[in-house]
Symmetry: C2
Subunit: 1004 residues, 2 copies
Amino acid sequence: MVTSMDIGVWILLFLVGFIHSSESKYIAYNTTSTIVPGKLNVHLVPHTHDDVGWLKTIDQYYVGSNNSIQGACVQNVLDSLIPALLADKNRKFIYVEQAFFQRWWREQSEVVQKTVKQLVNSGQLEFINGGMCMHDEAATHYIDMIDQTTLGHRFIKEEFGVTPRIGWQIDPFGHSAVQAYLLGAEVGFDSLFFARIDYQDRAKRKDEKSLEVVWQGSKSFGSSSQIFSGAFPENYEPPSNFYFEVNDDSPIVQDDINLFDYNVPERVNEFVSAALSQANITRTNHIMWTMGTDFKYQYAETWFRQLDKFIHYVNQDGRVHALYSTPSIYTDAKHAANEAWPIKTDDYFPYADRVNGYWTGYFTSRPALKGYVRWTSGYYLAARQLEYFKGKSASGPNTDSLADALAIAQHHDAVSGTSKQHVANDYAKRLSIGYTEAEKTVAASLACLTEGATKTGCGTPQVKFQQCPLLNISYCPASEVNFSDGKNLVVVVYNPLGWKREDVIRIPVANEKVVVRDSNGKKVQSQLLPIPDAFLGLRNYHAAAYLGISPSVNPKYWLAFSAIVPPLGFSTYYVSNAKKSAYKSGSQSDGFEVGLGNLKLIYSGKEGKLTQYINRKRKVKESLEQTYKYYPSYGDDGTITAQASGAYIFRPNGSSFPIKPNGKSPLTVLRGPIVHEVHQKINSWIYQTTRLVKGKEHVEVEFIVGPIPIDDGVGKEIATEIKTNLTSSKTFYTDSNGRDFIERVRDYRKDWNLEVNQPVAGNYYPINHGIYLKDKSKEFSVLVDRSVGGSSILDGQVELMVHRRLLNDDSRGVAEALNETVCVSDKCTGLTVLGKYYFRIDPIGEGARWRRTFGQEIYSPLLLAFTESEGNWGDSHVTTFSGIDSSYSLPENVAVITLQDLGDGNVLLRLAHLYEIGEDIHLSIKSSIELKKVFRDKQINKITEVNLSANQERAEMEKKRLVWQVKGSSREPEVSRGGPVDPEKLIVELSPMEIRTFVINFNH
Amino acid sequence: MVTSMDIGVWILLFLVGFIHSSESKYIAYNTTSTIVPGKLNVHLVPHTHDDVGWLKTIDQYYVGSNNSIQGACVQNVLDSLIPALLADKNRKFIYVEQAFFQRWWREQSEVVQKTVKQLVNSGQLEFINGGMCMHDEAATHYIDMIDQTTLGHRFIKEEFGVTPRIGWQIDPFGHSAVQAYLLGAEVGFDSLFFARIDYQDRAKRKDEKSLEVVWQGSKSFGSSSQIFSGAFPENYEPPSNFYFEVNDDSPIVQDDINLFDYNVPERVNEFVSAALSQANITRTNHIMWTMGTDFKYQYAETWFRQLDKFIHYVNQDGRVHALYSTPSIYTDAKHAANEAWPIKTDDYFPYADRVNGYWTGYFTSRPALKGYVRWTSGYYLAARQLEYFKGKSASGPNTDSLADALAIAQHHDAVSGTSKQHVANDYAKRLSIGYTEAEKTVAASLACLTEGATKTGCGTPQVKFQQCPLLNISYCPASEVNFSDGKNLVVVVYNPLGWKREDVIRIPVANEKVVVRDSNGKKVQSQLLPIPDAFLGLRNYHAAAYLGISPSVNPKYWLAFSAIVPPLGFSTYYVSNAKKSAYKSGSQSDGFEVGLGNLKLIYSGKEGKLTQYINRKRKVKESLEQTYKYYPSYGDDGTITAQASGAYIFRPNGSSFPIKPNGKSPLTVLRGPIVHEVHQKINSWIYQTTRLVKGKEHVEVEFIVGPIPIDDGVGKEIATEIKTNLTSSKTFYTDSNGRDFIERVRDYRKDWNLEVNQPVAGNYYPINHGIYLKDKSKEFSVLVDRSVGGSSILDGQVELMVHRRLLNDDSRGVAEALNETVCVSDKCTGLTVLGKYYFRIDPIGEGARWRRTFGQEIYSPLLLAFTESEGNWGDSHVTTFSGIDSSYSLPENVAVITLQDLGDGNVLLRLAHLYEIGEDIHLSIKSSIELKKVFRDKQINKITEVNLSANQERAEMEKKRLVWQVKGSSREPEVSRGGPVDPEKLIVELSPMEIRTFVINFNH
């Protein structure tokens, strides 16, 4: 053969072996989808990973607009998939993200819908994971995870009659215990697959062939909630050189002997070699190849054309066996292999993909969005209850669009804070729209209930309730009215929890001459607190930024009063004109104490700082310091920027710097009968209120942080820390998605010998609910109002990262620095974050009660609705209401996490036990809920216990769920679970951590 | 509405007009394909432009390999097209390049083939242009254009029963008269569309609404070969922002009101505005949008999905009317508009796309490939004749693969020289493979004919003929044998022309003791010429480079002798051992004359240069100088490189530099009875032989140019020039694709006032056949052996660019510098080009005969085949053969340009009159050919005159072809054409420039 092909003079090539005479023609490829025993089976799983928003918004991804940012169009994927599957019945595909699928589905003709149903029926198209999105696992609350999964699963069930079998969390950045046992096993999944685990962990697991394990995520449920779980060897993409998207440059299989570059033998060899290499790190003779990646299969045929050929020629070759497969088929094959698998407990956090690449920044990224999601989540829970009381309206307003928006917001680039800015805006816009509709639903329901119209049905209620979603920035036009004209402000306070509750209400008022009365007309103790400039500035700036208005009224005070509200019910309070000012100014002195009851905080006035925490009743006395600090981002000082901090990655520059209070501004102390507050302006961009409320034995800290200054060219990550003297021995506990607490040990991993590269970032964990630590005598707990990253970097210390402002991208794809701003008239300033956290010190063994029961109150704050009344409101309106029997209250270890009118005549009820096994001596016990009292006026016709995502009967799920053998496992004692519900007695038992889901049909 | 969407604290957006309650659903788009009178009709023509090789090879483009160079896969286009067309019967698509379509077609299942036939039948899929490729129009010979078009058109006819109606030359870089009248009108096309015309011309035509014209390309045929021709307003792409390939970033039509970014009104407005803007420069209320571009529709649905929506919503809007269309529908609409169109004559050369962007470099780019294509083309013509004599073998060897290779080589990035190097290599490889098979066919046919076996059929002939395709570099193992062992070398000389011919044969021999005898055993005059070192170096280097061998024999001499060969037949000559050396050395002196007959060249020995041309018989005596010069490329001196010279563009650096002969090396003159040669080693990289042959009255110049030195960092373009004293008044004539001659005037364009930017590059024209100029008394003609660029930059002067070596890319997409090299063992040197040109000076009016009749001999050289014989060859072999009646000869103004066994029992015959009207007083007349004598031994059963591409009967074509009105045209006198062929007499008449094509069926 001649190598040089240049044409100098006329050339002549005598090509050896050139076959010209054999006509090429149609080849019918043999695309088996059966497993061959005794051979290495390569399960080819065609898939696309379609982020429900990331670089583009979900709608942009769906329709394929904004392609200059990223070429991606989910419509192409689904459109092109159908003919590709029809072309060969062996071809298979899995589809994951229901938010996209539903968009597509509703645009299809009946003919296409029928075809797709057949493809689903035959197993060619399989839905896996099946939630609206592939939710994040670090910054998501378990209630949101359940809701978004239920939304997707029920759609699939209703349209196709099928239930997804497989968890498919291939992209989230670390994996939670709650995902494994709750959103996995309890949903009924037979396996769970993912890609992102720590690189050190991965290396060891490859060595030990333990990428695939049986994961037991729950201490309370033990082996009853295990799931087979596989981490992919590298990522969720094909082996290198096996990418076949339009325009991809992997070598195609050229099998037309009439054309040049015939390469079947080379490609078969590459296939076999990649398969054998994976087989070397995998147990059993089944390996899975994830044939696809982000937004691929835009023209599905390009992949299937090549996969057909590989299956055909690789099987002709015979060294390994290739087949079209799905994770279900793969799971069944693994199960059939009768192997005992290594066990895995706890979770896969934090995730690092390389030495300095700890994905722990995103635990805090976009703290305002995270706060908005959490607040909306709590609102949605309450709104569904109120919608249920009224009866759901199919034509709206209803809570459906909020359900959708919240579901999408759980995506692993949404609440995680790792999307581009315009996409984050889109999530917020959707939440806002959803909220607005839910707000109408709530207002209508409350109107009905106050008008006493629920039993007879509620046509057009007269009362117009207002709500104040911007109450957090003290913006509430409804409460800022002028009472001097004789009007009463009616405040309806709704409690979504199952137990009676007393809480302080706090609303801005324009006037100091106010009085609060309860529904009996009895004067209620109240307190006025002057609104500091810091809050007023926040209020006015954001009213301009978000509403485009300059509020005409500037409220001068917060009015605080205690409300007492029945379970799943409301109370009514009236605010009206008083003869004289209710405001009493406070006092302060060097070295002072604040606190209205058992709990006192001692301040050193000279230094202006908190020094001691004392709860006399509980005999707790602890030195304590609370400060702010910042981590400068790596490389921003002009040195190398190999790995910057960014939306995903927390990469501090080695050291942290304390943020010292400005010496000049002294503490301001506000004292009154309801609340004591210590106001501190730490510096020009940090303002903090420390609050002690009458009757509560915890400290509430409200902070305003931002705009973080960057004029020095250095990105900063702001943490607050509380130092105590507890000897916590490197150990602390953080929640998993707001549910189970998991033990963390500083600079240590249970699964491998940790090489410590990042002593701060590598010890950060996601905190959705709280963090605590303990020593022999005390527990120190901190609860949060949204997801944040946090750690205990020193013994006795807890830190929370509350805000981040960064100047570089961290090279994980988002291609933007996380530098959030807020703009008014095109002038933008760095984002300010307003948030709260709560802390408390208890004697050892007594902290759980506060963390769990009060924790639930943080998630479900009282819902306020306002209206004005001239006459006596109570004469013509219901002022006190409880959705359940007035003699009844749910136990304080149980929450109604779902009470939802399904709109089809059924109601979805989900009850959650709030305590883990052994967590609290009194509350970590089996509880009973009497449904007859919960549904006091209704008769239950049928009650069906279903799985967590409510797409199948629980019994059926348990019957068919695969049971896996575990290597060297000693069977644990039987786990406690509530027994079946007797349809006569209708009592639901809940064991620790149990969540039970019911579809209930009522007699009408 | 709120503009800022950042989330500072929790936000709330009250979106005005957000529609959430209306369910989106399946929309059935109204995709009309009818024309609406009285409205502006926007003809949307979905198309893909699939280069038959450019940045990737044709096979790489087809299968979609090598995507790292360019994401392109024609298989995707055609695969995805079928379901897209089936989805809506109004959707339409045109497909152009049959080389791709045939690859795809033969891989399809019968089911798909049946579906495609239905789509073609219904007009949803229309083949236009229909040749194997979209051939180049500058560097292609008309015979190749006809052949490649015929190959495509007959395939379409056979498989689908349809005939393409439209010429679609949308990418070639300038447009030829032959394309318009011959490959357009004479093929039966109703219109011709293209995109690339001079930017100055385009501007004027937009102003005057004359982008669409009636093009009358032939002087000889006048209005009988007109064609409606449209130049697109900008290019062959959609209006900007209307690109819809997968991942394209034009805004899609977002019409789902349930999603964000609904944009139907904006997109409709953009559509209407683009349409109106085009209507402003277009006559009639029909405009065409070319919806596609290079290798688009990889997932056809992406385009159709958007086009469906545009048609639906634009027509709902109603300001303009959009429809799915094809160029046929558009053409019919234009015709129906009853408009009179501006006339256009001549051609659209040269093409400039901007001030310094003259696409005249490619006229010469890759001169070796151009030479190889031309030589192979001539060989193919002869090989088909010989294949016909023997009878075509379906199972091979046959000429089919050469037909394919040659067809592909006509592509506008193939012979044009504008592909990447590896693609140019691919074209050459294909030609080589095709040649090798054709060579076997020729050898077998000659063996049959010499064995006298044709009448009885030819089984397995005994004689093994060798041929010498590398004879041009003096490499011919067959002739380099040792005659001293008593063997005779049998030389069979085949003449593919219709007239008897005498020509000098020239073969390398190893021995000086040789004698030549004719088939009667009579000694033939011969001459030995020593082979200069320059040729031997070339021979040995390229034998190593292309064959990987070092020839064992070094021939010392060329043996030259005159052969006389009958029409379409052969003679036989024997070379054998002689007693004594036949070599006689020549002589030279200061101031000498060379020439064997009427023509003499006078050299000034002192300066070593040609000074005078004298033909005493013709009374021509002309001072004459022939030299070489080079154009340095713009910017290579380190100045700005805004526009470099490259594969496409000729951008000289303002000046040219003479290449002076090295003073030291004197001329070498070789004189003998057959030929006189003057050898000049101009410098280390230019060697030239000037040759005068016995009995011929022209000068033959053979040059070896290269490797062009680039060690000074300057790219160079090498031209040879001949200066005479003719007062040519800026005027010269160049051929159109080797057929008609067109008048060129320096620094002038007939169609607009030329602004001269590039006084050299802007005056270059493609030369396929020849260039001439004249004054009142003389004509000076130059003929070429391949396509080159050339001009007359000064009065009396002609220059030809013979070679180019460039160091920069010219930014037209190929992204490589045109820097060809030849490598031996990984050591590469710049490409050397060996070529010939011929010149002659005639009294005015007498030049055409030489240009036409001798010109045809250049295209069709004598074909040589060699074998060895020990006994008396003539005793057992046919030594003289004519395919036609031995008493008959075709007139010298007619060539058999196709004589081909179609393999289906029919023969394709194409006869071409070689003269234009008025070109020669004796030969520009109607001629007659007696088919009975041409097919002397056969009986014609049926003769059908067909159109040029042989896919329909000529009469039918003429009947249905559209006739167009021309603005202000005065009807010319009736054009002369040959009359119908009487089936009894079987005489074919040919008028000047007429080409007539027949399918002939013989009685067997």
